[in-house]
């Protein structure tokens, strides 16, 4: 009862963080860890010296103004940046204790274990069924019954009831929000350990956004999720922990590079930020 009165009387700019972090350990149980990471595009350093630990079965949000390198960092967590000409990562990205940029590591296997959902829904120009079955097929998963796997993935992505009667129809007939859930289902189907989400709701309307956010809560039981978002309310609503990044100008060259300012539980970041820049950003005075 007191809770509800509190939230209704809270000032408008105040962001209500999720209240469920009583069970959240103070230190994340790291499944994915970033140590002294710099990301370069050619000679341009987009991200500088980031240290972060992403907790198992937690949702971690990366927030910050445009150009602070959060998407770049996200893409270096499953070696998607390998595909960009001239991109390179210095430092260590450890997945289950193993450096994923080590010389013997197969980037294909990294991407299978660490899936990614993109900003714009990007279903394949195939049927809904084939969109899901594609990943298991190309990664050589031994699937006893593909129909069951497709149903399981779509159910987990909260899409099964809407599409079960039209599995053979083109994925392009779905709405934007449904397409994005299909992309999440497609990612789940290859049974990854981590799901990276790059502003997954920025192309969606508020109702579709709410559905994706609810879905993220459900998925947290099975997966570790890292999400980049421009929407601070979204970070406050979904994330267990939040990392705030900003862009600093190099004193010599004037090039801007992304740095990690503050990382902690979402409640702490939004209610008692330690760094002045974090406070300015979340209270809307900057960025």
């Amino acid at each position: 009862m007191t809770d509800t009165t509190e939230s209704t009387t809270a000032p408008t700019m105040h962001l209500q963080a999720r209240a469920a972090d009583a069970f959240l350990p103070d230190e994340p149980r790291g499944i994915l860890q970033v140590e002294n990471v710099d990301v370069y595009y050619g000679s341009f350093r987009a991200v500088t010296d980031v240290n972060l630990k992403f907790g198992l079965n937690e949702i971690t949000a990366l927030i910050g103004p445009s150009g602070c390198g959060k998407s770049t960092l996200l893409r270096s967590l499953n070696r998607m940046n390998d595909l960009v000409d001239g991109a390179r990562v210095e430092g260590k990205v450890l997945f289950q204790g193993e450096d994923m940029y080590g010389p013997k590591v197969d980037p294909i296997e990294v991407r299978r274990r660490i899936g990614m959902v993109f900003q714009k829904p990007n279903p394949f120009p195939k049927s809904i069924y084939d969109n899901i079955a594609y990943g298991p097929r190309v990664t050589g998963m031994r699937v006893s019954n593909m129909d069951d796997l497709v149903e399981e993935a779509l159910t987990k992505a909260a899409l099964w009831n809407e599409v079960k009667d039209k599995l053979k129809q083109s994925a392009y007939g779905l709405s934007g929000g449904q397409q994005q859930r299909l992309c999440i289902a497609r990612t789940i189907a290859v049974k990854p350990d981590v799901i990276l989400m790059d502003e997954p709701c920025s192309a969606l309307d508020p109702i579709a956004t709410t559905r994706i956010e609810d879905l993220m809560h459900d998925l947290r039981n099975d997966y570790t999720i890292v999400i980049v978002t421009h929407n601070m309310q979204q970070a406050a609503r979904v994330a267990d922990r939040t990392a705030f990044f900003t862009a600093l100008a190099d004193e010599g060259t004037g090039d801007r590079t992304g740095v990690l300012v503050e990382y902690g539980k979402t409640t702490q970041i939004f209610e008692h930020p330690v760094d002045q820049r974090t406070e300015d950003y979340i209270s809307g005075r900057f960025g």
């Binding site: 499953n78 714009k120 120009p125 594609y134 497609r186």
Partner: protein, 304 residues
């Protein structure tokens, strides 16, 4: 500050009523420009229509099924273009089989796998574009030199003609395939790679199937260009009078453009009419092929 015409930073918008009776779209300059555009269209279209009507009128005396069933003869009223039609089919078919896989493979490499910053790849790219503009007879000479080098004595065979035409349309097919691949959004490739697919799987199972309509359209248009070519085949000594059906890759042959060329050079009026009628057949074939290309494009066009 009361009206729209008020000054903003020193500029003044002239005050003019909405209903001035003038129409900005009908100013003299606009009208002249519009008329020039219409004139260009009219000239281009007029020439084409005149050409088609002329050959139809010229050839109407010789229009009959005989054109498709009979061999050339010394009497224009008994002659037909059967071997030329079959010869064109053989040469174009062989060209398609030789060129499309090669051209598509080259384009896939350049577009999906090659390092675009590498100077060597960039040089190849530039050269492919230049080769598309080389006159067809040069390819005939190239094929001639190549076959002579190999020691082939009879160069007037189907496979030799197909070789020359392949060289001619290979750059066109490479370019149109690259365009088709480039039209497949990057998000599709990224989505596939993010699931743990290899670059090869992504190309083979996502990018290439999505590009098939574009590739088909480009290939058909390239083949229809090859269908109309006579020069490179004449350089290779293609026969002008064939009284047998071509029956294989090593068979002698003639094609429609060569047959037309031959008949046009005869003194008898009847052969000129025959040439006109055969031109209509060739035009018909080209229209069908281009129509097919357009149908494929419209039908399977992806709306991303």
């Amino acid at each position: 500050m009361s009206t729209i015409g008020s000054t903003i930073a020193g500029t003044i918008r002239p005050e003019r009523p909405l209903a001035s009776g003038r129409n900005g779209e009908r100013r003299p300059l606009s009208l002249i420009f519009l008329m020039l555009l219409w004139l260009s269209l009219l000239i281009a279209f007029g020439v084409l229509v005149t050409l088609v009507i002329t050959i139809i009128i010229d050839g109407q005396g010789q229009f009959s099924w005989r054109l498709f069933t009979e061999f050339p003869a010394s009497d224009p009223d008994r002659a037909g273009a059967r071997p030329a039609i079959l010869g064109s089919a053989w040469v174009i078919g062989t060209t398609a089989v030789m060129t499309i896989p090669l051209g598509v493979a080259a384009a896939v490499h350049l577009e999906e796998f090659a390092d675009k910053k590498n100077w060597f790849n960039r040089m190849i790219e530039l050269n492919v574009q230049n080769l598309a503009a080389v006159p067809s007879i040069v390819y005939g000479l190239l094929a001639l030199a190549f076959l002579t080098m190999l020691g082939v004595r009879d160069k007037n065979i189907v496979i030799a003609g197909a070789l020359a035409l392949s060289l001619l349309i290979l750059p066109v097919i490479i370019i149109s395939t690259r365009e088709a691949l480039r039209a497949v959004p990057q998000e599709i490739r990224q989505g596939s790679l993010a699931l743990g697919a290899t670059q090869w799987q992504t190309t083979w199972r996502q990018t290439l199937p999505s590009a098939v309509p574009g590739i088909a359209t480009g290939s058909i248009l390239a083949l229809s260009r090859a269908l109309g070519e006579a020069a490179p085949l004449l350089v290779l000594g293609a026969l002008v009078f064939v009284s047998f059906d071509p029956n294989g890759l090593l068979s002698g042959y003639t094609t429609l453009p060569i047959q037309i060329f031959n008949w046009t050079g005869r003194p008898q009026e009847g052969f000129h009419q025959l040439a006109a009628a055969t031109s209509v057949v060739l035009l018909g074939l080209l229209v069908i092929m281009n129509g097919l290309a357009i149908t494929i494009r419209n039908r399977y066009q992806k709306r991303w």
